[in-house]
């Protein structure tokens, strides 16, 4: 074990790392992360974007991006990311069997995260979007201590239970000096496909209010729409499968807001 904290070292070839986090589970980090990555390229096709699924215990990126299989290795033993929709991806999900639980204590997780960061042949990328697991523990610490992060996007649903954790997530990033780019309010409202009645299933506007309280920007508001879940289950995220839909537009807006904020927080 090395003494002291690991030193932050950038990943060669990657210009900016954006982490998508929340604190709370199940608010849509992974869904937001894939659609953000696709939104970034949709808004500016000249940009190259990669995805790192750091959710070691519950890797969702393979499912969402319709990717499967073990990564091949380059001549110098770097893992080659699997690519779909133009986005190279790496996930623990590619390295383990579908049903195998990843029952690892913190130390092993640290080691796995190191590999996912350093032993991947990312090539040259403008952005690396990192999908974080829920919580504020080993994975979050390992990533923030290991690599410089341009900014964090915090996803929350409107309800207080989620916001409490989102606030802790934001605080964690402040503690480790990672700029918080802003909040995404997810699952904000549901519109009945039959009668168009709107129901705020998970509460109303809480994330907007939290953003104001924390003094961070609200990057976007994504409604609860069947299409998002259906396309996710099919492995074709809404930004590519229904690019003209309001949901896809909402994600593209988040992507523009992220780019704008990155310019603002650049040291």
């Amino acid at each position: 074990m090395t003494k002291g904290l690991p030193r932050q070292k950038p990943i060669a070839g990657i210009k900016q790392v954006i982490v998508v986090a929340s604190g709370k589970g199940g608010v849509g980090k992974s869904t937001t992360a894939v659609n953000l990555a696709l939104g970034l390229t949709a808004n500016d096709p000249s940009k190259s974007v990669g995805m790192l699924d750091a959710d070691v215990y519950g890797p969702s990126i393979p499912k969402l991006m319709n990717l499967k299989g073990n990564p091949e290795l380059t001549d110098n033993n770097l893992m080659i990311p699997l690519t779909n929709y133009g986005i190279p991806c790496m996930s623990m999900g590619f390295l383990v069997d579908d049903v195998a639980p990843i029952v690892w204590r913190g130390l092993m997780v640290m080691s796995a995260i190191e590999k996912l960061l350093r032993q991947v042949d990312w090539g040259s990328l403008d952005y690396l979007v990192v999908d974080m697991p829920p919580g504020t523990g080993d994975v979050q610490l390992s990533i923030t201590q290991n690599i410089p992060i341009a900014g964090a996007v915090i996803v929350s649903t409107p309800q207080d239970i989620a916001l409490m954790d989102a606030r802790r997530g934001a605080e964690m990033f402040k503690k480790v000096n990672v700029p918080v780019l802003g909040l995404v309010q997810n699952m904000s409202v549901f519109q009945c496909p039959n009668c168009n009645h709107q129901t705020h299933i998970f509460g109303s506007d809480g994330a907007r209010q939290l953003a104001e309280t924390l003094g961070v920007k609200l990057l976007g508001d994504v409604p609860l729409h069947l299409n998002i879940r259906e396309t996710s289950d099919r492995g074709k995220p809404v930004v590519v499968s229904s690019p003209d839909s309001p949901e896809a537009e909402a994600y593209r807006k988040v992507a523009s807001a992220v780019v704008q904020r990155l310019k603002e927080v650049r040291p």
Binding site: G23, K24, G25, G26, V27, S30, Y57, G58, S60, K63, L64, D98, V99, A100, P101, I102, V103, W104, R105, G106, L107, V109, P133, P134, G135, T136, G137, D138, Q140, L141, Q159, D160, I161, A162, M164, D165, R167, R168, G169, E171, M172, K175, F190, C192, P193, N194, C195, H197, T199, H200, I201, F202, G203, L224, L226, R229, E230, S232, D233
Partner: protein, 268 residues
């Protein structure tokens, strides 16, 4: 571990873990509702909230931030009412600042959970429900290791119907099988949404995934709980949904699930 510590769990009849693997499927909500339903059925219930990073139960039961006291046998749990029918222990009670982030690595979490499991003076309980964080990590291993001396009746797994959830819950099922934890059953949460205006049912998070998962893995399917804005509002405000909405479909679902669970526990 000292033998005398088992004293704190000696009068607890049944211990049930509430697991998922996937975050945000409603473990804490289901734990709270099961506890309230069991209490409604006359049982003495305890909840141990080992989600150190996101302790939700205190908020859901509206217990605020009480002081936690020590007695000879350890920590005294927080009771939600004067009759002491529902006891709770959560890290939420030990933090100075409720908004403070608990950014700990594994070994520290393991140590605290060890204390939570052995050093809370639960007294007599019919059922102790253990609410866990998502995943299969230090917290889960710590709970199992510390509960080894006392019997763990088994685990209830909560999932939402969609593929990304059932995928993670499948891993959790394998975890249970490998660690010898009996799977008491699977609950499918957020199963269908009924529009309050026109009663059209929309399967926002899909439907049936939990039931299929149960069939696929040979586990019992305990039931489905619909996506109900009244339930989310109740939880948000820390109200007792079971008391407030006894005529709802959600109430029937929760009651039926808690009764099936209780029969399972008593039969074993």
């Amino acid at each position: 571990m000292e033998h005398s510590n088992d004293g704190n769990l000696a009068q607890v009849q049944h211990v049930v873990l509430v697991l998922s693997g996937k975050g945000g499927v409603g473990k804490s909500t289901i734990t709270t509702e099961l506890a309230l339903a069991l209490r409604n059925a006359g049982k003495k219930v305890g909840i141990l909230d080992v989600d150190l990073c996101g302790p939700s139960i205190p908020r859901m039961l509206s217990v605020g931030r009480p002081d936690v006291h020590q007695c000879d046998s350890g920590w005294v749990p927080v009771y939600t009412d004067a009759k002491k029918s529902l006891a709770l222990m959560s890290i939420g009670f030990l933090m100075e600042d409720p908004d403070e982030a608990v950014v700990w690595r594994g070994p520290k979490k393991t140590a605290l959970i060890g204390q939570f499991v052995s050093d809370v003076a639960w007294g007599e309980l019919d059922v102790l429900l253990v609410d866990t964080p998502p995943g299969t990590s230090d917290e889960h291993l710590a709970v199992l290791e510390n509960l080894k001396k006392h019997r763990v009746d088994g685990a209830v797994l909560v999932t939402t119907p969609q593929a990304v959830s059932t995928g993670d819950v499948r891993r959790e099922i394998t975890f249970c099988k490998k660690t010898g934890v009996r799977i008491l059953g699977i609950i499918e949460n957020m199963s269908g949404f009924v529009c309050p205006h026109c009663s059209e049912c929309s399967n926002i998070f899909s439907k049936g995934g939990g039931e299929e998962l149960a069939k696929l893995t040979g586990s019992e399917f305990l039931g489905s709980v619909p996506l109900d804005p009244l339930l989310s509002a109740s939880i948000e405000e820390g109200k007792d949904f079971v008391q407030s909405f006894p005529n709802s479909a959600t109430f029937s679902a929760l009651t039926s699930i808690s009764q099936t669970l209780l029969s399972s526990l008593q039969a074993a």
